[in-house]
Symmetry: C2
Subunit: 338 residues, 2 copies
């Protein structure tokens, strides 16, 4: 069996069912070591499927275990380790560099993981529906965001995948806008991007809606013609990309298809990010859906399809859903119609 070393919270959780923000995880053949500090000892011993070692100096203790077990070669993700720690480890063991080592392992979800993620997406979509009732003219982005988080977190009982984006009009033109005290008005466009965690697995969704008659449907009616036009282009780009999701197609093809719809409509320069990203324990993980990713679509993959058009100082539109490839070979858009 492989010998490998990890230090990222979710990567360690994937291997042993528990994690914390200060850990080194060693997998040496069939032996697993969860090396952490005294703050986490009790929880780790109760929950981690590994031998728990408590220390004030994680790296030093790790090196001692490697020496004691006469480990010669160790797989490591060079993107996850700071230069100093990497060099320090390399002095006692041959480090076999595998960028994205854990991301690659986690890219194909098991049937059980797919079920958990579907539940996460379902709960996320329900929270969008519940939040719909709270959208009131005159509330500002802070107030809207607070109510949205109340629904997403079920009043604090669930973690969020990330800090939700609640952006009104020109703020929606910034894909990662800073929240403001801008107040909602009747003819505004409102962009909502949020997700929650269920059993540590993330969901992620974006709706851009017309405030006049709030609905979380992907069919939106705007009084303003330009908003309607841009919205419909983004929706078409998403639909075209989704239609083409099939096992064996390279992921970059999806980005191309969506980008072509937007470019042909004359807004290619305003689609400033890639089409999507994998979702799992991390909110952004493999596989990425961009113009460079040659990886082929496979069963067990989970990723977002989220084209957008952002017109600076005017408004932005993004529509995002999560899709998965089930083990019957069929693509599924998760909770699209909730």
């Amino acid at each position: 069996m492989d010998n490998f070393i990890l230090n990222k919270e979710n990567e360690v959780y994937y291997e042993c069912g528990y994690s914390c923000d200060n850990v080194i995880f060693l997998s040496l053949g069939s032996e697993k070591f969860f090396i952490t500090d005294g703050r986490y000892t009790i929880d780790a011993k109760e929950n981690a499927n590994a031998e728990v070692i408590t220390t004030n100096n994680l790296l030093k203790t790790t090196k001692e275990i490697l020496l004691k077990n006469r480990i010669k070669v160790l797989k490591i993700d060079p993107l996850n380790w700071d230069y100093e720690s990497f060099v320090s480890l390399s002095k006692i063991v041959t480090l076999q560099k595998i960028p994205n080592y854990s991301h690659k392992k986690r890219m194909i979800k098991t049937p059980n993981e797919l079920e958990i993620i579907k539940k996460s997406v379902f709960l996320g979509a329900l929270a969008f529906e519940e939040f719909k009732e709270e959208i009131k003219i005159g509330l500002d982005e802070f107030e809207l965001s607070y109510k949205f988080k109340e629904k997403l977190s079920n009043r604090g009982n669930r973690d969020l995948s990330f800090e939700p984006i609640v952006a009104i009009n020109e703020n929606s033109a910034k894909p990662h806008a800073i929240i403001s005290n801008k107040k909602l008005q009747i003819d505004d466009i409102l962009l909502l991007d949020a997700g929650l965690k269920y059993k540590r697995y993330c969901s992620d969704r974006t709706r851009t809606i017309s405030v006049e008659n709030p609905t979380m449907s992907k069919i939106q009616q705007f009084n303003n013609q330009k908003k309607q036009k841009i919205y419909d282009i983004v929706l078409k780009a998403q639909e075209e990309a989704i239609k083409n999701i099939k096992i064996g197609i390279p992921l970059k093809k999806l980005d191309e298809i969506a980008r072509e719809v937007i470019t042909k409509a004359g807004y290619g320069d305003y689609f400033v990010h890639s089409l999507g990203h994998g979702v799992g324990l991390d909110i952004h993980e493999w596989p990425y859906v961009n113009k460079r990713n040659e990886i082929l679509i496979q069963e067990g993959m989970v990723f977002t399809i989220e084209p957008g058009i952002y017109l600076p100082n005017e408004f932005g539109v993004r529509i995002e859903d999560m899709v998965c490839i089930n083990y019957d070979g069929n693509m599924e858009v998760m909770s699209e119609y909730i």
Copy 2:
């Protein structure tokens, strides 16, 4: 002037007044470059005191700028860069490794920073007081935490320094407990550790209180004799450490003093972490107050004093306040009596 490179959100904010989670910052003599992706361009141009460069490949663009400006030597914190990026940069410029480069710069706060931090601590202490009214028998840790966050964030208008710790009885014995559905009972001990951000600067505070008659005062009355005994030892440890904070004293001396009080009382093995840490833009930053830190106390320092005793499966006690050294040379415990 120094040439240096940064990639951490708060370190970049410190230099140019704006930041985001995907940035490389270059300071080349008097020229400053904020290199980011298209999601952040608009906000960066409005807020960053630097030339904003938008790119899909931050590292590649950074290297181009270094070459174009004929930069030969660049200061870098080797703890902040992954191995691959560090090696890639080192091929075109001599990297001068300075661990904790930005932490060292930020360790001494300006008078203006001290004022901001005092406000942050004051608002945090007020939130503890407001939350006191919400502590009701029968609520579980999730519900208590939700109400606490409502007060700390002022219903979503402020960011928190970190996810608050709300731990009842045996959960309080875990310094970083996972939140649970454990319900509050009349004879419980309740540990509260939380802080908020004001103008991006963090506050941090812990109170361990008797539920019978909730008060955020450091004088607590427990019916249970053992709880009272442990509480009073921790309080004495904190008071002794605080009493000894003086310019010119090494920080490690404070850890020694607090640890001696707890060890003499027979609980040295149950004080499982160091005495404190600096607080600023980061919730944990320089200077650390542990048994190894020989750095001398100076004007402009801000740090926590937070001894604790944790009895597994029974309960834990921690008392934490933030202190600063003002520019008149006097130590101040911030918002201790609110």
